[in-house]
C-alpha cells in the first residue's frame, strides 16, 4: 500500500511540477523548445514501439509525422474541420499508411526493411513536393490555423502562445505515454517482445507474426501522425521537409541515446537532445561553428559502442551501485 501511495504521490508531484513550469519560466523561446521536446517525445515513443519492442527498424517514420501534419493542416484549411479533430484525423490517415508499410515488413528484415522504409518516405516526400495543388509544393502550407479556443463555462482557454501549447503537448505526451505503457505491459506487448527475441519461437506458441506486425505498424504510425498534427497547428507551417530522412535519424538518435526498448529512454533522449541541441546552437554564436549534428552522430556511435542500454541503462546501473554500496 505504501509503495502504491508513494507512486501516486510521485505522479501527483510530477503533474503539479509540469503544471507550474510555464508560471515559473516566462521565456517564450524556452517554452517553444519544451513544446518541440514534447512533440519529439511522442515520435520517439512511437518509433521505439517498432524498433525497440518489435525489432522492426523503420527508417521512414518521418513520413507518418509528415502525413499527420499535412492531413490535419489541409483539413483545417480546406474543410474548416476543427484542429482538435484534425489531430486524430491526422493520426488515423498516418495509421492507414502505417498499415500499408506493414505489408512489405511481413517479408523483409534488416537492411531490406530499412531501405524499403526509406524509399516509402522518400516517395511520399516527393509527392508532397510535387502535388502542388494540394500541398503548395516545396513552399509548404503556411498559415495553418491555430488550435481553436476551448470554452468550459465562463472559462475560455485560448491557444496563442507557446505556454498554451505547452499544456496541450504535455497532455498529448501523457496520453501517448499512457497508451504505450498499457500496450507494452499487456499480453500484446509481451507478444511483440517475444517476436523480437525469436520469431520462430514465437510462432511455436501460436503467435502469428504477420498480423502483429501489421497492428504495431498501424499503432506506431498513428502516434507519429498525431505528433505531426500537433506540430502543424503549433508551428503553423507544414513543408515536405517534415518527411525528410534526417528527421527519422533525429528520432533514432534520441531513442538510442535515451535507451532503446525502454519506456523512459525515448522520453529522456528526446528531452535531453532537444535541449542539448539548443545549447549547442547557443554555443554556435560564440564559437561560430555549428557542431550540433556532429555531436548527434558522435553520440549515436558512442552509445551503440559503449552504452548499449542508453542513458536509462547508465542511470539504472549507477543507482544499483549506489544502493549496493550502502
Amino acid at each position: 500500500m505504501s509503495a502504491r501511495l508513494r507512486k501516486i504521490l510521485l505522479w501527483a508531484a510530477a503533474l503539479v511540477a509540469l503544471f507550474l513550469v510555464p508560471h515559473v519560466v516566462e521565456d517564450r523561446y524556452f517554452m517553444h523548445i519544451v513544446v518541440m521536446a514534447g512533440i519529439f517525445t511522442i515520435l520517439t515513443l512511437s518509433w521505439n514501439l517498432l524498433a525497440g519492442y518489435t525489432g522492426q527498424l523503420n527508417l521512414g517514420h518521418a513520413a507518418f509525422y509528415g502525413i499527420g501534419a499535412y492531413t490535419s493542416a489541409i483539413l483545417a484549411m480546406q474543410t474548416g474541420l476543427s484542429p482538435w479533430l484534425g489531430l486524430f484525423a491526422g493520426g488515423l490517415v498516418a495509421a492507414f499508411f502505417g498499415l500499408l508499410l506493414g505489408f512489405p515488413a511481413l517479408r523483409l528484415s534488416g537492411p531490406y526493411l530499412a531501405i524499403t522504409t526509406i524509399g516509402f518516405a522518400e516517395i511520399l516526400r516527393l509527392v508532397a513536393m510535387n502535388w502542388v495543388d494540394l500541398t503548395r509544393g516545396s513552399l509548404g502550407l503556411s498559415g495553418v490555423p491555430l488550435l481553436t479556443p476551448i470554452k468550459i463555462g465562463d472559462f475560455t482557454m485560448q491557444f496563442y502562445f507557446e505556454r498554451d501549447y505547452y499544456y496541450v503537448v504535455v497532455a498529448a505526451v501523457l496520453f501517448t505515454l499512457f497508451c504505450i505503457r498499457r500496450l507494452i505491459g499487456s499480453e500484446f506487448g509481451v507478444t511483440l517482445q517475444a517476436m523480437r527475441d525469436d520469431e520462430a519461437g514465437a510462432q511455436s506458441i501460436g503467435i502469428n507474426p504477420s498480423s502483429y506486425k501489421l497492428a504495431v505498424f498501424t499503432i506506431s504510425a498513428f502516434f507519429a501522425g498525431f505528433a505531426g498534427g500537433l506540430f502543424a497547428h503549433f508551428a503553423r507551417l507544414v513543408s515536405p521537409e517534415l518527411l525528410a530522412l534526417h528527421n527519422t535519424f533525429d528520432v533514432l538518435t534520441m531513442t538510442m541515446i535515451g535507451g532503446l526498448g525502454t519506456i523512459a529512454g525515448p522520453i529522456l533522449g528526446a528531452v535531453t537532445l532537444t535541449f542539448l541541441s539548443e545549447a549547442l546552437r547557443y554555443m554556435e554564436e560564440v564559437i561560430k561553428i555549428d557542431i550540433r549534428l556532429i555531436v548527434y552522430g558522435l553520440l549515436l556511435i558512442l552509445t551503440i559502442l559503449f552504452m548499449r542500454e542508453g542513458l536509462v541503462g547508465v542511470i539504472k546501473n549507477s543507482w544499483a551501485r549506489m544502493k549496493g554500496g550502502r
Binding site: L183, S186, T191, A200, I205, G206, I207, N208
Partner: protein, 262 residues
C-alpha cells in the same frame, strides 16, 4: 485409444536432398514415442514438418483426424501441438515468467486487435500484475523446477535451465501433443535424471509426447515405442528393446559412425 497423430508417406526434399523420405507412422493417445537415428537422419526435419515450420513436399499429416499438412506453425500450435527446439529458442530479453505468460494467451480466439483492446479495458494495469495469470505461470515454472529464476532475464539463465523454460513455455499453450527435440543435449548426468522425471511427469498428466533423443539412457528409459530413421527413411518401429537389437538398426548406427569419419 486411437492415434492422435498420423503421418502418411511424408516426404521432404531440400533441393536435390531428400531429408525425409516416405515416412508413415502413428502416435497413440498418451504415448511417448521415441525418434532416433544417426546424425542427419532427418529427425529434426520430421519435427519441423509436423510443427509446421515448413510444408512437406509430399504426403499428409493428420492431427486428431484433422488434416494439418498445409497449416502454418502458429495455427498448428493453437490446435494443440507444442514443441521445443534442438537449440533453445527462448525469448532472451523477457523474464522466465514473461516467457511463460506470452505462451498462455488463448491465441486461437484472440488476435492482435483484441489484445490491444484488452490492454486498455481489461485485466490489471500490467500483465505481470495480473495475479491469476501469474499464479498459473508460477505453477508451470514450479512444475519444471525453475521458480528461482522467475524474474531473471531468460538470456541470463544457465543453458540447462533454459531447456526447462522452453518446456514450461510449450506446456503453457496447453498442448495435447508435445514435440521434444533433444531435450537432454548439453545436460550433465545429474540434470539428465531430472529431465527424465520431468518428461514422465508431463506424460502422466495425459500429454502425448514425440521425443528425439541421442542419449540412449533417456530414450530407452521413457519411450513406450521407438521409431528409427536412417537417411530419411523409417527402418524400424516397435518396442525399445526389440528395436535396439534389430540388426538393421545396429548397422545403421555403425554405418553412420563410419560415415562420420570420412
Amino acid at each position: 485409444m486411437g492415434a492422435i497423430l498420423t503421418t502418411e508417406r511424408l516426404t521432404k526434399n531440400f533441393g536435390g536432398l531428400t531429408a525425409v523420405n516416405d515416412v508413415s507412422f502413428s502416435l497413440e493417445q498418451g504415448e511417448i514415442l521415441g525418434l532416433i537415428g544417426p546424425n542427419g537422419a532427418g529427425k529434426t526435419t520430421l519435427i519441423n514438418l509436423i510443427s509446421g515450420a515448413f510444408p512437406p513436399s509430399k504426403g499428409a499429416i493428420l492431427f486428431e483426424g484433422r488434416d494439418i499438412t498445409r497449416d502454418k506453425a502458429h495455427t498448428i500450435n493453437t490446435l494443440g501441438i507444442a514443441r521445443t527446439f534442438q537449440v533453445v529458442r527462448i525469448f532472451s530479453r523477457l523474464t522466465a515468467l514473461e516467457n511463460v505468460l506470452a505462451a498462455m494467451v488463448d491465441r486461437g480466439r484472440k488476435g492482435p486487435w483484441s489484445l490491444v483492446w484488452d490492454s486498455f479495458f481489461r485485466r490489471a494495469c500490467a500483465l505481470t500484475e495480473d495475479k491469476e495469470a501469474c499464479a498459473t505461470a508460477d505453477g508451470l515454472l514450479e512444475f519444471v523446477g525453475i521458480s528461482r529464476y522467475r524474474d531473471e532475464q531468460a538470456g541470463n539463465m544457465p543453458y540447462a535451465l533454459t531447456k526447462r523454460l522452453e518446456i514450461a513455455r510449450a506446456l503453457a499453450t496447453q498442448p495435447k501433443l508435445l514435440l521434444l527435440d533433444e531435450p537432454s543435449s548439453g545436460l550433465n548426468p545429474a540434470e539428465l535424471t531430472g529431465q527424465i522425471d520431468l518428461i514422465q511427469k508431463i506424460n502422466a498428466q495425459g500429454t502425448s509426447i514425440l521425443i528425439i533423443e541421442h542419449v540412449m539412457k533417456v530414450i530407452m528409459g521413457i519411450s513406450h515405442r521407438l521409431i528409427v530413421l536412417h537417411y530419411g527413411e523409417k527402418i524400424a518401429e516397435g518396442e525399445p528393446e526389440k528395436v535396439y537389437n534389430d540388426p538393421l538398426v545396429v548397422e545403421a548406427y555403425l554405418g553412420g559412425d563410419s560415415d562420420a569419419q570420412h
